[in-house]
C-alpha cells in the first residue's frame, strides 16, 4: 500500500509512505478510491513517511484535501512540503474558464448554420480562386514574360513522364480485360471480330482518357495539394506574396498548364498501349492474326473516335489541377488539415472527372459523333 491508515472513531489518520511520484500516481489513486471514508469527519495527514514527492504526487494530496474539504476537515500533521504549496498556488488562481461549453440544442442549430454558411462561402471562395487563376492566365497570354517554361517543364515531367509506366500498365490490363470478357460473350454468336470494335472504340473514346485521368488525379492531384499545402503551412506562400510574387502565377498556373500538356500525351500513350493489348489478346485467345486485327481497327474507328477521347483530356486536366491547387491553397493551421484537404482534392478531382465524362457522353450523343 502506498499509505497507512489508522481509524479512531470519526478521525482517520492517513500516512503516505514510499514514492508519491508520477509513475505511481495511477496505483495510488486506485488505492485512495478504495479507501472507505464513511463516517469520517476528520482526516489527519502525516506526510513525514514520504520518501520522494513530485508535482503529480503533491497533486494527489492537494486533490484529497480539496475534495474532502466540503464534508470533513483535513489537517496536516507535518510541515507542508514545498511541492504541495506549489500545486496549491498554481491552482489557486482563477479557475473560471474550463472546458469549452457543452453541446446543447442551441449549439447544434448554431453548428448546422455555421456549417451551411461555410459551405456557401466555400463555393464563393472556389469561384474567386477560379476567376483569379483565369485572369492571371489571360494576363499571361498578353505578357509572355510571366510564362514560366522551366516550371511548366518540371510539371510536365512530374505529372506526365514519370506517370508513363503506371498509365501504360493499367491501359494494357484494362484492354486485356475488355477483350477477354468481350471474346467470351461474342464467341457464342460467332461474332469474334467485334471484339476488336469493342476494345478499340471502348479504349479510344472512353476508357483510355478516363483511366488516365483517374490515375493522374490520384498521383498529381494529391501532389499538388500536398506541395502547396506544406508551403502554406511553412509560410512560403506569405513569403512569395511579400516578395511581390503572385502565388497563383508561380505555383498554380504552371501546374495547370503542365497538366494540360501532360494529360493528353499520356492519353495517347494509354490509347496506343490499349489497342496493342487488345491485339495481343486477340491473337493468343482467338487466333486472330495481327494483320486482320489492325485491318478491323481501321474499319471500326470513325474519323472522330480518337479525337472524341483526346479532346476530353485537357478538360479533365484543368479539373484535376484546379482541385489540387485550390485545396492546397486552403490549408491552414495544422498537418491534419493538410491530410484532410489532400484527400478532398483527390476525391473531388475524380468525382469531377467522371461527372464531366458523363456530360461529354451526352453532348457527343446529341451532336451525333
Amino acid at each position: 500500500m502506498p499509505f497507512r491508515t489508522e481509524r479512531h472513531h470519526e478521525t482517520l489518520r492517513l500516512s503516505p509512505v514510499g514514492d508519491w511520484t508520477i509513475q505511481h500516481v495511477g496505483e495510488i489513486e486506485r488505492s485512495l478510491d478504495m479507501l472507505s471514508l464513511d463516517g469520517v469527519r476528520c482526516i489527519q495527514l502525516d506526510l513525514s513517511g514520504i520518501s520522494s514527492l513530485d508535482l503529480s504526487g503533491a497533486w494527489l494530496i492537494h486533490d484529497l484535501r480539496v475534495r474532502s474539504a466540503a464534508i470533513r476537515s483535513v489537517d496536516l500533521l507535518s510541515p507542508e512540503p514545498p511541492m504541495l504549496r506549489l500545486v496549491a498556488q498554481t491552482l489557486a488562481q482563477d479557475q473560471s474558464a474550463r472546458e469549452p461549453e457543452p453541446r446543447t440544442a442551441r449549439s447544434a442549430v448554431e453548428h448546422l448554420g455555421r456549417h451551411a454558411w461555410e459551405r456557401l462561402t466555400g463555393w464563393a471562395e472556389g469561384l474567386a480562386f477560379l476567376g483569379a487563376t483565369v485572369l492571371r492566365f489571360l494576363a499571361a497570354l498578353k505578357d509572355p514574360r510571366v510564362w514560366r517554361p522551366i516550371s511548366i517543364a518540371r510539371h510536365v515531367y512530374d505529372t506526365g513522364l514519370t506517370a508513363i509506366p503506371i498509365v501504360a500498365l493499367i491501359a494494357f490490363l484494362i484492354a486485356v480485360i475488355i477483350a477477354y470478357m468481350g471474346a467470351q460473350q461474342l464467341q457464342q454468336f460467332g461474332a469474334d471480330i467485334f471484339v476488336v470494335d469493342l476494345v478499340t472504340v471502348g479504349v479510344l473514346r472512353e476508357l483510355g482518357v478516363l483511366l488516365t485521368a483517374i490515375i493522374v488525379a490520384g498521383r498529381s492531384g494529391s501532389a499538388f495539394a500536398a506541395e502547396i499545402g506544406a508551403m502554406k503551412l511553412n509560410q512560403e506562400i506569405d513569403a512569395l506574396k511579400a516578395t511581390g510574387v503572385e502565388p497563383i502565377e508561380v505555383l498554380v498556373l504552371p501546374r495547370w498548364i503542365g497538366l494540360v500538356i501532360a494529360l493528353p500525351l499520356l492519353t495517347v500513350i494509354a490509347d496506343a498501349v490499349g489497342v496493342v493489348g487488345g491485339a495481343l489478346l486477340c491473337q493468343l485467345l482467338l487466333d486472330m492474326p495481327l494483320v486482320q486485327y489492325f485491318q478491323r481497327v481501321d474499319e471500326s474507328i470513325a474519323a472522330w473516335t480518337f479525337w472524341v477521347g483526346i479532346i476530353k483530356a485537357p478538360v479533365f486536366a484543368v479539373l484535376i489541377a484546379a482541385a489540387g491547387t485550390y485545396r492546397g491553397m486552403q490549408v491552414r493551421g495544422s498537418s491534419r488539415e493538410l491530410g484532410r484537404l489532400t484527400t478532398v482534392a483527390v476525391v473531388q478531382a475524380i468525382f469531377m472527372v467522371i461527372l464531366a465524362d458523363a456530360l461529354f457522353a451526352v453532348l457527343f450523343m446529341e451532336i451525333g459523333i
Binding site: G26, M83, V87, L91, Q95, S334
Partner: protein
Amino acid sequence: MSVAPAIIVSDIVNRFGAQTVHDGLDMRIERGEIFGIVGGSGSGKSVLLNTILGLRRPQRGRVELSGVDITSLADAELRKLKMTYGVTFQAGALFSSLTVLQNVQLPMLEHLDLSARALEELALLKVRLVGLPVEAAYKYPSQLSGGMIKRAALARALALDPPLLFLDEPTSGLDPIGAAAFDELLVGLQRELGLTVVMITHDLDTIFRTCNRVGVIVDRKMISGTLEQISDNPHPWIREYFHGARASRFGASRGA
C-alpha cells in the same frame, strides 16, 4: 556531492562523412544547475543535444545520464530512460492536430496508467504551472502566439515530472519582455521543482539571467565554466561573443 552528476559527456566524437563536428568533447553538468550551451551556427549544438538525448549514437565516447551510460543501452532501456527527461524543440514541435492539453497528455497516456480525471487534472496543472491561462489548454497550436507555444512546449516537456530538462533555444523568436518572462518562469520552476536544466541559447540576456554555468563549443570541443570564468577566456570567438558590440552593454552591470 555524493550523488552522481546529472550528465557526464566524455570524449565524444561525432562525424558526418568527412566533416567532424565534435572531436573529443567533454561536458559535466551537476544536479540542480542551469547550464547554457553556446556556440556559433554549425558548431554542433543540436548534434550534441541529440547525442545526449540518445537520438544519435556518437562515433566514440560515453554519455552518462544520472550515472547510466546511454550509448550502450538497448532500445527498451533507452525508452524507459526517456521518461526521465523533458525536451522542448526550437520551433515548439507541438503536435499540430492536438490541443495543448492533448499535447501534454500524450506522454502521460503513452507511459502511465492514469484515470481520466487524473489525466485531465494533471495536464491542466502543468498547463497552469507554465503560466498559460486555462482557455489556452483547449486551443490548437496554430491558435497560439509564439510565446504561448514556447510555454506549451515547456508544459509538455514537464508532463512526466522529469528531473532533467533540455531546452533548445527556448527564447528565440520572443520579444525581450516575453523572453524575460520566460526566463523568470524557468528559474522559478527550476528552484521549485529542483530541476537540472540544459539549454541551448544564443540569447545573452537569457544566459545572464538564468545560467549558473555555460559551455562554449569552439574548435569541436567544449570550454565550460561559470559566467565570469568564460567571459575572461582569451579564445577569440568567446571574446567576440561576450565582449562584442552586442554584449558590451552587459559589461558595466556584470563587471565582467
